[in-house]
């Protein structure tokens, strides 16, 4: 690598890193407890749990009964989405001022065996975890904050790629794993290079999937404008049925049409993911990978018949696959622990990089020395 190209890559690495380091530190520090958000909320009794008064084998109440219970608990409000809690006999009823409303008023969690309301909250998470999540995903600034963090993520990816390019000129004379202990700055340069190159694959995956997650609103909007609009086009001007098919029947029809799948969530007629004339029953698969994906099944709310079901388009599938790969919540608690350790090591890469930049403020000369003269 010529001296000029080295300087360009070094500049790119320095500046993309500097732009994003502060934000990445916030993301790493808030992300650390968020890896365990369910476990932490459960430990503090902030998470809905199954009704202990129920026998495990008790039959489940019809879903329409759960809708009734939720409506009684929140008079004047409507259920927008009914979501099954994976692995538990619980349903989250997501309420709004009306089914059409785009804003959430409360989540009522009901045990489907006893009909008992186990928790009512404005979010699924505890206020503390919700705060950390809002800080992590949008810097407490909603959509603009989220898109800004997408740009931060792109900077992170550019910093990783330029770091990999720089690794070669820096390591021309040093076998992998060399940490020269004689001088402090050189030691931290070696530590930065070793940890950075060793964590590259994990940091790239978490960085890229994080960027994809920042586009979730745009992806949902695009899906509604194109796929959903096409599926409900024939009913665009049809009146909302006076008498709707029971939710339980709609779900059973969808499940019967796609054996082996489970219901993940149902968008109620009138809600933004269903249109006025349908239930949109989102099914998920039984395999490890397909359980992360959802398949919308449109059930006519008047006739109770399926009018259409299509897989999510590639960009929405990319979003649903990106979630577990970003959160690390798809392989049991040991994976979460590893995610936390890798997160802490990433903080080490960030801080050692920051130290190298501060200690080199005198000039760019020592950077070149690191690549060519020091041995």
């Amino acid at each position: 690598m010529t001296s000029r190209r080295l300087r360009i890559w070094a500049g790119l690495h320095t500046w993309t890193s500097l732009i994003c380091t502060l934000f990445l530190l916030v993301l790493c520090l808030t992300g650390l407890p968020l890896i365990f958000h369910e476990d932490i909320d459960r430990a503090f009794g902030q998470r809905a749990t199954a009704d202990l008064a129920a026998a495990a084998a008790m039959p489940l109440l019809p879903l329409d009964r759960l809708l009734e219970i939720a409506r009684q608990a929140r008079p004047g409000e409507a259920v927008r989405f009914a979501t099954a809690v994976p692995g538990e006999p619980l349903w989250n009823m997501e309420m709004g001022a009306s089914a059409e409303s785009r804003s959430l008023t409360a989540i009522v969690t009901i045990d489907a065996r006893t009909g008992r309301i186990m928790r009512t909250g404005d979010r699924i998470r505890s206020p503390a975890m919700q705060f950390l999540k809002d800080l992590h995903t949008e810097l407490l600034m909603e959509q603009p904050g989220m898109l800004f963090l997408g740009l931060v993520g792109l900077c992170f990816v550019a910093a990783i790629v330029s770091g990999v390019v720089l690794y070669r000129p820096f390591m021309r004379k040093l076998p992998y794993g060399t940490l020269r202990v004689e001088k402090r700055r050189r030691y931290w340069l070696d530590v930065h290079n070793l940890a950075g190159i060793t964590l590259t694959a994990w940091m790239l995956v978490v960085g890229v999937t994080g960027v994809i997650n920042t586009l979730s609103q745009q992806i949902a909007d695009h899906w509604m404008r194109t796929e959903l609009a096409a599926m409900i086009a024939p009913w665009r001007n049809a009146p909302v049925p006076a008498q709707v098919t029971p939710l339980q029947d709609a779900v059973e029809t969808a499940l019967a049409a796609f054996p082996g799948m489970a219901v993940a969530t149902v968008a109620m007629p009138g809600s933004m993911f269903a249109g006025g004339h349908h239930y949109d029953v989102f099914l998920s698969g039984a395999e490890p990978l397909t359980s992360k994906l959802i398949k919308p099944v449109m059930v006519d709310a008047q006739t109770g018949k399926i009018t259409e079901a299509r897989d999510l388009p590639w960009y929405a599938q990319a979003l649903f696959i990106s979630k577990p790969l970003h959160f690390g919540d798809y392989g049991g608690w040991p994976l979460k622990v590893l995610w936390a350790v890798l997160d802490l090591m990433t903080i080490g890469v960030l801080l050692s990089g920051l130290y190298l930049w501060i200690s080199r403020l005198a000039g760019w000369r020592s950077f070149r020395e690191g690549a060519t003269d020091e041995a």
């Binding site: 992998y176 794993g177 940490l179 060793t198 694959a201 994990w202 003269d373």
Partner: protein
């Protein structure tokens, strides 16, 4: 770039170990996503590799002292 008397490592020599770690990491990230049970366990082993490798060299350097 000034030429050194000491032999320079080739690109392959420089990136052989990092590429191996990256491949193991990628396997670990995918195995838990695509499988359950034993594939989860393989994912834990694979994702422990970058952690253990980094920790190994760090411990070795600390044992050598001075820093």
């Amino acid at each position: 770039m000034r030429l050194e008397r000491q032999a320079l490592l080739t690109t392959l020599q420089i990136f052989r170990a990092p590429l191996a770690v990256a491949a193991i990491t990628a396997f670990g990230l995918l195995s838990a996503l695509l499988g359950d049970g034993v594939w989860d366990a393989l994912s834990w082993i694979a994702l422990a590799v970058p952690v253990v490798v980094t920790a190994h060299y760090l411990c070795r350097s600390i044992a050598r002292g001075k820093v």
